[in-house]
């Protein structure tokens, strides 16, 4: 199961899961005798115009589909990052205060406290472009040009030691040639197989175990906010 192919070609397993869930018990609601598909189209709404679609259609897939034409270098990205990103993410992407770290942590996925960053954890470079263009900077989303986004992604590759050359230019042509270190680190949900033991057995009702021992108590950590001191109700 733990192969990149399975993760990318997820439709098969997804279909299985959906079919399994639907076939496991009574259907949630009976299908209408006349399906909506057999009815004439309702004719509601209007056709979305190509320019309207283009304005919102910024998503990018791992295979590069959706990448706009453009380019940016590590150096350019460094400059933009220090102006628009470093206040939260730190000069080197290490994260300021509680804000997310974007670099570092490679090889820590089996550690007691893994450090999940773009370099150590993310599988696809496309996600960085898509997410930055869509949602960053936090509080001023969708304010970056395509070239600025390419430059920032190039700089993030540099911060994560995936690209060493300061003069490296990332563009829509060479984008998909770059693989992230954890590209093969994901696999499709396998709970139905790997955790099969949680299904089907009639659970024990009497004298099921020895008297339990309490091993951890939340009140000893003392990190629970005082429930009585919630925000004021107006």
């Amino acid at each position: 199961m733990s192969s990149l192919a399975k993760w990318c070609g997820g439709a098969v397993v997804a279909g299985l899961i959906a079919a399994g869930a639907a076939g496991a018990g009574p259907a949630e609601s009976p299908k209408p005798a006349v399906t909506e598909k057999s009815l004439p189209k309702l004719g509601l709404g209007r056709e979305a115009l190509p320019e309207e679609i283009a304005a919102w259609d910024t998503d990018v897939r791992p295979d590069g589909k959706g990448l706009p034409p453009g380019r940016g270098t590590v150096k350019q990205g460094d400059e933009i990052f220090q102006q628009r990103c470093a206040a939260c993410h730190g000069e080197f992407g290490q994260g300021a205060g509680r804000w997310p770290a974007l670099a570092g942590g490679q090889g820590t996925m089996r550690a007691d406290r893994p450090d999940k960053t773009i370099g150590s954890f993310w599988p696809d470079l496309s996600t960085a472009f898509d997410y930055i263009k869509r949602a960053m900077p936090y509080g001023n989303a969708r304010s970056l040009t395509d070239d600025e986004t390419y430059a920032l992604v190039a700089f993030l590759l540099n911060l994560n030691d995936i690209v060493k050359d300061d003069n490296f230019e990332l563009n829509d042509k060479n984008f998909t040639s770059i693989k992230l270190p954890n590209a093969s680190g994901f696999f499709e949900d396998d709970r139905e197989l790997a955790e099969k033991k949680f299904w089907g057995k009639e659970p024990c009702m009497k004298n099921c175990r020895e008297a339990p021992k309490v091993t951890s108590r939340a009140n000893e950590l003392n990190v629970t906010p005082d429930g009585k001191s919630g925000p004021k109700v107006d």
């Binding site: 869930a21 949630e28 997310p100 089996r110 659970p203 175990r209 951890s216 990190v223 906010p225």
Partner: protein, 430 residues
């Protein structure tokens, strides 16, 4: 009159049904047939009431004194709360529903848990549009007025954040029902089946996946298999009879029954059909589950069966020995709850609880079991079984499978420790 009503209540031990269940309960839960305590009788004070209170002698506020009603002033502590240390900002954060104070299966709209990634936007419904495009015959742009003309449906479903209970993966951390389980809520949703909207655009044969996206500053986007979209997903504009609350996606959100809260995109503005998933940030960096070998599960959409005792709980201690009703909630993304068992000795012995109607698919389900507490220490827990035969696991079973770093999908059995003074604590057992 009042005392008679109490005595004839079928839940008291004096009715035949009640006595049977109490005898059974005494044997199983306390290991003794001797009931010990006195039968429940009305408080003598109720038989000779005190003098009339002021509200019995005067005129109250008139109608439309509160054009939009609100709870009694004495319920002021029944509110959503957050954990300030949990996140870097309140705008990309979560608030928890006060399950300890709620009854039934419907969460009041003002208490439904919140999870935003860029705050709660104020969306103008007159300007809001839903775009459906990609592998469709005819890309569509729909206004709210258009959407409300489509054939409508209403369904009751829970939404649970997959991080609900995530703080308890390593150890019992939150000494509170609200903070350990409050990222689940349940509502009646009204809107349009997603399949109705997609069929209006005409789905191209190659389409296998849908990307759904919000209109807020996070523009959260997730990939969903088309099968699920056409099965039971809803595009809703109403919640428990009124327009969605702004924090729940006003004017339009997606409801994906039984699947992790994150895919229930709020302020829904765009649906794009494609032949492959997008691997967006919320399905790679987040909402993937790290396993002990360093690889991660992706697309763990389904919420497995889960239950929790909502009384007693840390916020609602016991008031001395005697009769109580252990109460709780159970739910499963697989469909219906089939059974809930309750233990008061940390899982040595179990007794099957009563399920309260309605028991709906992918909705919260109530359960209860009468309990005569003898004042001794107890370990109270519940265990749900759903209609697929899935049995809610212990935290030890889950950790053996997944380690402690998978962040999401902690659906383990919750144990509350009851101390002789009646106080209640979140604990984990070995």
């Amino acid at each position: 009159m009042r005392s008679k009503a109490v005595l004839s209540d079928p839940a008291t031990p004096d009715s035949p049904m009640g006595r049977r269940s109490f005898l059974g309960l005494g044997a199983v839960l306390t290991g003794s047939l001797a009931l010990g305590g006195k039968p429940a009788i009305a408080n003598p004070a109720q038989e000779s009431p005190p003098a009339d209170a002021p509200w019995s002698q005067s005129i109250g506020a008139g109608v439309v004194d509160r054009p939009y009603g609100r709870p009694a002033d004495t319920e002021a502590s029944v509110i959503r709360r957050n954990v300030p240390w949990l996140t870097a900002s309140a705008e990309s954060s979560v608030s928890f529903s006060p399950l300890q104070d709620l009854h039934g299966i419907i969460t009041p709209n003002g208490l439904f848990f919140e999870r935003h990634h860029a705050g709660r936007p104020d969306v103008d419904p007159a300007q809001h549009k839903l775009m459906i495009h990609g592998l469709v015959e005819r890309p569509l742009l729909l206004t709210m007025k258009d959407i409300m003309r489509f054939p409508s449906v209403s369904r009751i479903h829970f939404i649970e954040c997959p991080a609900n209970g995530g703080m308890n993966w390593r150890a019992a951390q939150m000494n509170s029902l609200q903070f350990s389980h409050g990222m689940v809520s349940c509502a009646e949703w009204t809107g349009v089946r997603l399949s109705t909207l997609l069929e209006e655009t005409g789905i191209k044969k190659q389409a296998k996946w849908a990307m759904v996206e919000g209109a807020d500053g996070a523009h959260m986007n997730r990939s969903l298999p088309l099968d699920k979209c056409l099965d039971d997903c809803l595009v809703v504009y109403a919640q428990n009879g009124e327009a969605l609350r702004p924090e729940q996606g006003y004017p339009l959100r997606l409801v994906v029954p039984g699947w992790e809260g994150n895919v229930n995109i709020k302020w829904l503005r765009r649906i794009k059909l494609g032949e492959k998933p997008w691997h967006s940030r919320e399905e790679t960096s987040k909402y993937t589950d790290l396993m002990p070998d360093g690889t991660s599960r992706g697309f763990t959409w389904l919420i497995d069966a889960k239950s929790v005792v909502t009384f007693p709980c840390p916020e609602k201690p016991l008031d001395g020995p005697g009769l109580y009703e252990i109460r709780g909630l159970a739910w499963t993304g697989n469909g219906r709850v089939k059974r809930v068992d309750v233990s008061v000795d940390g899982g040595v012995n179990w007794q099957t609880a009563r399920l309260h109607e309605p028991v709906l698919s992918k909705a919260l389900t109530r359960f209860s079991l009468p309990w005569r507490w003898d004042g001794r220490p107890a370990l109270v827990a519940s265990r749900v079984i759903d209609e697929t035969g899935y049995v809610q696991p212990t935290i030890a079973q889950l950790r053996a499978q997944r380690g402690s770093n998978s962040v999401y999908h902690n659906n383990s059995i919750q144990t509350w420790q009851v101390k002789p003074d009646g106080s209640v604590f979140n604990v984990q057992l070995a």
